[in-house]
């Protein structure tokens, strides 16, 4: 119950998940790869007009990042559920919500952070300027953890449910909408010269909110799934 053993459990979870990711290095590369693919498919589908591409750039990047996060996230708990590791996690003598934070954090490190780091490169492809690129990175840095937190709720809710891949999308995407609007809005308004601060601080607020609420909801959902 005390702080140090709680920390030990959380860091244990993070370490294990990072180890697993190392074992399957390609899985970790997956979300980055997905981002690159979706972003590059667009010019193929939409046509190469640079003006159009610049206009839609922030939106496409954000949507792609959002989908990448969602897809990689929808399976955070599935493997643990199927092989019984989740039962063991619920029976750990620490509050489940704290362990959930660890799990989500590990996930973000594996698949969210690379997306953030890669984004400026993709932004360049869409002709974003230097300052907008900065705002893009900032917005993703604040936004993707929120996405992970919210996504974890959905992932936990659909455990053991068939066709869960798409159900989780249905559950989670509506909740992603504000983040998307603020995130893409930040970049767009910085491109329009208004500066993205207002939107960025809204993103920050979303992050704080989700950090406080999502772990509890996720923990509740996990317990329900195991009944």
């Amino acid at each position: 119950m005390n702080g140090s053993s709680m920390w030990e459990a959380v860091s244990g979870i993070i370490r294990r998940d990072l180890l697993l990711a190392m074992r399957r290095r390609s899985d970790a590369a997956m979300s980055v790869f997905f981002l690159v693919i979706v972003v590059s498919l667009f010019p193929l589908g939409v046509g190469p007009d640079p003006v159009v591409l610049r206009t839609i750039g922030p939106g496409v990047l954000w949507v792609a990042a959002l989908l990448a996060c969602l897809l990689s996230l929808s399976r955070v708990f599935t493997a643990d559920y199927v092989d019984g590791a989740l039962e063991q996690m619920v029976l750990v003598p620490q509050p489940l919500a704290v362990l959930v934070v660890g799990k989500v954090l590990a996930h973000w490190l594996i698949s969210g952070l690379p997306v953030v780091l890669l984004s400026p490169l993709l932004g360049l492809q869409f002709g974003l300027s230097g300052e907008s690129l900065g705002v893009l990175v900032m917005s993703l840095l604040l936004g993707t953890p929120t996405l992970s937190m919210i996504g974890a709720i959905g992932a936990a809710l659909v455990l053991g449910v068939r066709g869960s891949g798409l159900l989780v999308a249905l559950l989670v995407l509506p909740l992603y909408v504000p983040v998307l609007i603020f995130g893409a809005g930040a970049v767009t308004s910085s491109m329009a010269g208004i500066g993205g601060e207002a939107n960025l601080s809204l993103l920050g607020a979303c992050l704080v909110l989700s950090l406080f609420l999502a772990p509890w909801a996720t923990a509740a959902a996990l317990r329900i799934a195991l009944e």
Partner: protein, 206 residues
């Protein structure tokens, strides 16, 4: 001391058991037996607090486990039908991360000894678990028992897929655990494999 007070459990439309009372003292073992589908696993999950009973309660040292929450989780080791091991990690890594998660960190050597105690030799420690045979996987899960210092063990068919040698080793380990004032609830179809200690038998009739 683990005590079940007038437990009732239904799954779906089916009433599995009602008014079930049982008491397991330290140093003794409760063998839960019964036909397939009679509710043994459900009972074990209620004991572990994974499932909440429809009625009644489970007491640990006289206190309701639903109130004890994490404190109770700190008292037990649960091994279910599923092994809870990760296909991509080696047996050693699996064991160590399971232990550290449970708050009972162990050294690398300790883990190796536990694996050897249950008959997994050194070269196997370094293979990814997915190439192991069914029985070897079960052994990895059971190796936790050699490191566990928790008083209460809840085991769901521990002997599945094990060969006779491994069965004997696990029985021996259960024996030691009981002698050290531990208590255990074991679900099994192979009663013969249980240690000849104070075994209390609970037969569920479904």
């Amino acid at each position: 001391m683990l005590q079940a007070v007038s437990l009732r459990c239904s799954r779906g439309e089916r009433r599995l058991f009602t008014d079930l009372n049982v008491k397991v003292e330290r140093g003794s073992l409760l063998a839960v037996v019964g036909e397939n589908g009679s509710g043994k696993t459900s009972l074990l999950r209620i004991f572990s607090s994974l499932l909440s009973p429809e009625q009644g309660s489970v007491l640990w040292e006289g206190q309701d486990i639903l109130q004890l929450k994490e404190l109770y989780a700190g008292q037990l080791t649960y091994i279910g039908h599923l092994n809870g091991i990760k296909d991509d990690l080696t047996p050693l890594e699996n064991l160590m991360s399971a232990m550290s998660l449970a708050g009972e960190s162990c050294s690398n050597n300790g883990a190796k000894e536990a694996l050897e105690a249950i008959g997994l030799k050194r070269p196997i420690h370094q293979l990814p678990s997915k190439v192991l045979s069914q029985g070897q996987k079960r052994r990895v899960a059971l190796a936790r028992l050699w490191l566990s210092t928790r008083p209460l063990w809840l085991l769901d068919e521990p002997f599945t897929s094990l060969d006779t040698a491994a069965t004997a080793v696990v029985t021996q380990r259960l024996h030691t655990h009981l002698q050290r004032a531990g208590l255990a609830v074991v679900v099994t179809h192979q009663e013969v494999a249980l240690p000849t200690e104070i075994v209390q038998r609970l037969r569920l009739t479904g």
